[in-house]
């Protein structure tokens, strides 16, 4: 993008205000919330993070991956096996999990590219990876098999990445990570050749290649970054819950939640996955408040997902954030720059749908 300020257009002004407000609310939230509500906030941030990291491959490059559920699981199992089981430092275990998930993403992408699969088969193939890993976790004692793994350590504090009573530190670690990943991704998408090439790969790989973009390499790299980062919320979640099993952190549902959350929020935007992640966590909590029996929460959540998806498809097609952007643009007067000058009268193409690619 060309150099722009934060307040250049009405949309930028509105976005800047919303981002600053949201950050301020996020920072003071634990001061006003009790431990339980802070825990809800932490879970909401985890949803936001994993939607966001899914979006790097799924939204920006258009790779409909369900292998990201594996990445989440790899992050969780890494800390369970290495830290809880073998006494490693949890931060180191987190790093190992992220690297392992990155390698998994790299290999997955290269295999998919090798077979030149389309989006549907990409989804099916990556789903198979998650199901296979889930099967391995369900039957291998090292990974807890059917009973799962429990954190029996008693250490607390930053070095141990563990706090037994107060989830506030978890909350701030998740918030810091989300901010860092968001800023890093925004810089990558706007400033680097690699990041700027990703929307071109999504829209037309053949054209991207003819512009000198190494399509296969960049897809693989995007999958590695995306899945590597997805392992981190997995690790944080495992530390928070102190329990990990094949059906808690390595399920297809997690993969679908990332995909659906990103699409509801606005795939290929920076803010969309975060908005949707926090929104969905809030909805889940509200349903819990309505004295729905806990066993039913997840099925009610599914229904709410469905309603949200239908609403988004009906009213905006591209998600919450693109809807917001077009609404602001419509409200802020019709100030479309007319292509004035000495051009011949030109037939214009059909009006475009309003969706900013490469970040809001």
């Amino acid at each position: 993008m060309t150099t722009r300020g934060w307040f250049d257009t009405p949309l930028r002004r509105a976005n800047t205000i919303v981002v600053v407000l949201a950050l301020a609310v996020a920072v003071v939230f634990p001061l006003f919330a009790d431990a339980a509500l802070t825990g809800v906030g932490f879970v909401a941030l985890i949803y936001a993070i994993r939607n966001f990291t899914w979006n790097i491959a799924g939204g920006f490059v258009g790779l409909l991956s369900l292998a990201h559920a594996s990445a989440f699981g790899v992050g969780a199992f890494a800390v369970a096996v290495l830290a809880w089981g073998h006494g490693w430092n949890p931060w180191l275990a987190m790093l190992v999990g992220a690297l392992a998930a990155a390698v998994l993403g790299l290999v997955t992408s290269l295999v998919m590219s090798r077979f030149g699969v389309n989006a549907f088969f990409y989804a099916l193939g990556t789903m198979a990876i998650t199901l296979a890993l889930q099967g391995v976790a369900a039957s291998w004692d090292l990974l807890g098999a059917a009973t799962g793994l429990q954190n029996l350590g008693a250490e607390q504090g930053f070095a141990a990445l563990q706090w037994f009573l107060d989830p506030t530190p978890f909350y701030f670690i998740a918030l810091t990570f989300l901010v860092l990943v968001t800023v890093g991704t925004a810089l990558m998408m706007r400033r680097t050749r690699f990041g700027r090439s990703l929307p071109f790969i999504r829209e037309d790989p053949v054209m991207a290649a003819s512009m000198g973009v190494p399509v296969v390499r960049n897809q693989a790299l995007a999958m590695a970054i995306s899945m590597g980062l997805t392992a981190v919320p997995g690790t944080l979640m495992a530390q928070y819950v102190q329990f990990v099993s094949y059906d808690s952190v390595l399920t297809l549902e997690i993969g679908v939640a990332m995909l659906v959350g990103t699409i509801i929020g606005g795939a290929g935007t920076l803010a969309g996955p975060i908005v949707a992640g926090i929104g969905i966590a809030a909805v889940e909590e509200l349903l819990r408040g309505l004295e729905v029996s806990s066993a039913n929460v997840s099925s009610y959540t599914q229904i709410v997902y469905a309603v949200l998806v239908i609403a988004v498809l009906r009213f905006g097609a591209h998600g919450i954030v693109p809807m917001w952007e077009s609404a602001i643009q419509r409200l802020s007067a019709p100030r479309r720059r007319p292509p004035s000058g000495d051009d011949p009268p030109l037939v214009s193409n059909p009006p475009p749908v309003s969706l900013s690619t490469g970040g809001g």
């Binding site: 037309d204 003819s210 512009m211 292509p339 193409n349």
Partner: protein
């Protein structure tokens, strides 16, 4: 500059191209013409690295570059335009030129500066924030052309750059192509619009049903009986039943 030697390609049993042979010199425009289905797009895809030929060679400055992938061909200096389709409508004008600029530019600022210069040169700067889908079609062709030129290519392949433009718009684009040719780029263009071929082509290669039936200056090839028959569909010799109707009969042009 670019040399194509005995290039051949078939899909299944269908010979799309056979024994195509021509040179595209630096600072000259080579036009590939022929009825629909003649194999022009396949030829450009073979040169650009989208497809691999079954036989023959592509030489760039005397180096064999046959069958290299298209990203590699771009790095070596073979850029191309596309018949831009709906699926890229979301992409941004500035970005599409800037990403191509990275062939020559080192880093963010350099790429942006090159993209800006190129857009200003084609009088497109005011469209920088638009999506490709929201600019007028003649402007889109110029953006596409700027995207090709910003990489400072040795060879630029133009795929039906003029299609769908009004005669006046064609004149505007022709001027820009001519200016780039004069910078020493070897331009290979697939073109149906005779107005552009007449104005630009230094050398014309006529394809029909995958074979090269004529090659030379436009005035020469347009008198060739086989060319006339291919365009008008009149049976001649073995007959060419599905040559298709001619969009712009060559004979009329001379």
């Amino acid at each position: 500059m670019l040399r194509v030697e005995h290039l051949a390609k078939s899909f299944g049993g269908l010979h799309v191209l056979q024994d195509v042979d021509f040179d595209a010199a630096a600072g000259a425009v080579t036009a590939l013409i022929g009825p629909n289905g003649a194999g022009k797009s396949t030829l450009v895809n073979l040169i650009g690295g989208v497809l691999r030929p079954d036989a023959g060679r592509v030489l760039l400055d005397g180096t064999d570059v046959t069958g290299l992938p298209s990203a590699r061909m771009f790095d070596l200096g073979v850029a191309r335009t596309f018949q831009v389709s709906g699926n890229v409508a979301q992409l941004n004008v500035f970005e599409s030129v800037a990403v191509a600029a990275y062939r020559q530019a080192r880093g963010y600022r350099a790429a942006n500066a090159m993209a800006r210069r190129e857009l200003e040169r084609f009088d497109l700067w005011r469209y920088r924030d638009e999506r490709l889908g929201s600019v007028p079609s003649a402007t889109l062709r110029l953006v596409d052309f700027a995207r090709g030129m910003v990489s400072r290519p040795k060879v630029l392949l133009l795929d039906e750059l003029m299609a769908g433009l009004t005669p006046h718009e064609v004149d505007v684009v022709v001027e820009q192509v001519r200016a780039c040719r004069d910078e020493g780029v070897a331009i290979v263009m697939i073109e149906h619009v005779m107005q552009a071929v007449q104005a630009l082509a230094d050398h014309v290669v006529v394809l029909n049903q995958g074979r090269m039936i004529a090659s030379g200056p436009l005035s020469e090839v347009s008198r060739d009986p086989e060319v006339i028959s291919a365009y008008l569909g009149a049976p001649l010799g073995d007959g060419t039943p599905d040559a298709g109707p001619a969009p712009h009969p060559v004979a009329k042009g001379t």
